[in-house]
Symmetry: C2
Subunit: 165 residues, 2 copies
């Protein structure tokens, strides 16, 4: 992979295992309580699209997130989240596209917000289809694109991984 360069990157995901996680999908308003989604044992997928990302990038990201052997099963063997099987929580995280410049992070490599929203929806839909087809009893949850991701998690070891596309 010696010819790959930083500027060729089109997307980035960070993956963490969890025992449970809860994410706010609607902040509290004057009239309504905040709304949350929750998952049990499974995989948290933070995702960020950079300029140049396409539906093809989304397919590769979904494949990597769902098929990579990152989850320790009860026997301690590494299996994919589909094989576990476990829940999936998708967290839009535009900050992941930042690059450090002095004391500030800059986000000019990030994709336009509208395009990002479209690709994010594709990612969520595709994950949901594949995970549910594999096992209808597991849960796929996702955060609201563009919102602040108010969030808590409990893990038995996050095994944090980062994959670029």
């Amino acid at each position: 992979m010696s010819t790959e360069k930083f500027e060729d990157r089109k997307a980035r995901i960070v993956l963490q295992q969890c025992l449970s996680a809860r994410l706010q999908v609607q902040p509290k308003s004057d009239t309504e309580e905040a709304q949350f989604v929750e998952i049990g044992r499974g995989l948290i997928v933070y995702i960020c699209f950079l300029k140049g990302s396409t539906s093809d990038t989304v397919s590769k990201m979904v494949k990597a997130a769902l098929n990579t052997r990152l989850s320790a099963n009860d026997e301690g063997k590494l299996v994919s989240i589909l094989e576990l099987p476990g829940d999936v929580l998708i967290v839009p995280q535009a900050t992941l596209g930042g690059t450090l410049k002095g004391k500030l992070m800059q986000y000019h490599k990030n994709i336009d917000k509208e395009e990002g929203k479209k690709l994010y929806d594709e990612f969520v839909q595709s994950c949901n289809d594949i995970v549910k087809q594999n096992n209808p009893n597991v849960s796929v949850q996702s955060g609201t694109y563009g919102n602040r991701q108010v969030f808590r998690t409990d893990t038995n070891g996050p095994y944090t991984h980062m994959i670029e596309f």
Copy 2:
């Protein structure tokens, strides 16, 4: 930065804001309960050293982690964790050095365990010195190198950032 290549990377950190976090530093044994460290509002720093990392890399990492303006203060302005001021939790996370190969992550770019432990200790010591000199009332906590990082966190928006060195 068009000449930078993937193989030049020497280390990677992932940064997340938190309202609180708790990390196991000693697993439960036959004779003793598990031991944990905790922080309040602050910054979680997951760190991973790759081959070629040196004390010079550690200095750059500490500088970036402590001085980059990633924390929203009470007025919503972005300030560094030193300026906030907030607590720091350092989590060794060798999995962050993985690269995807088929359905498996490979870790052959990671530094030797002994060398990594030495640089990790330098990172923790340096963060502790700088943070405490800046404000003796904040807390710097760190995980046990090589252990499973049993962990929970609560955030008001993790603002996940990744920085490479």
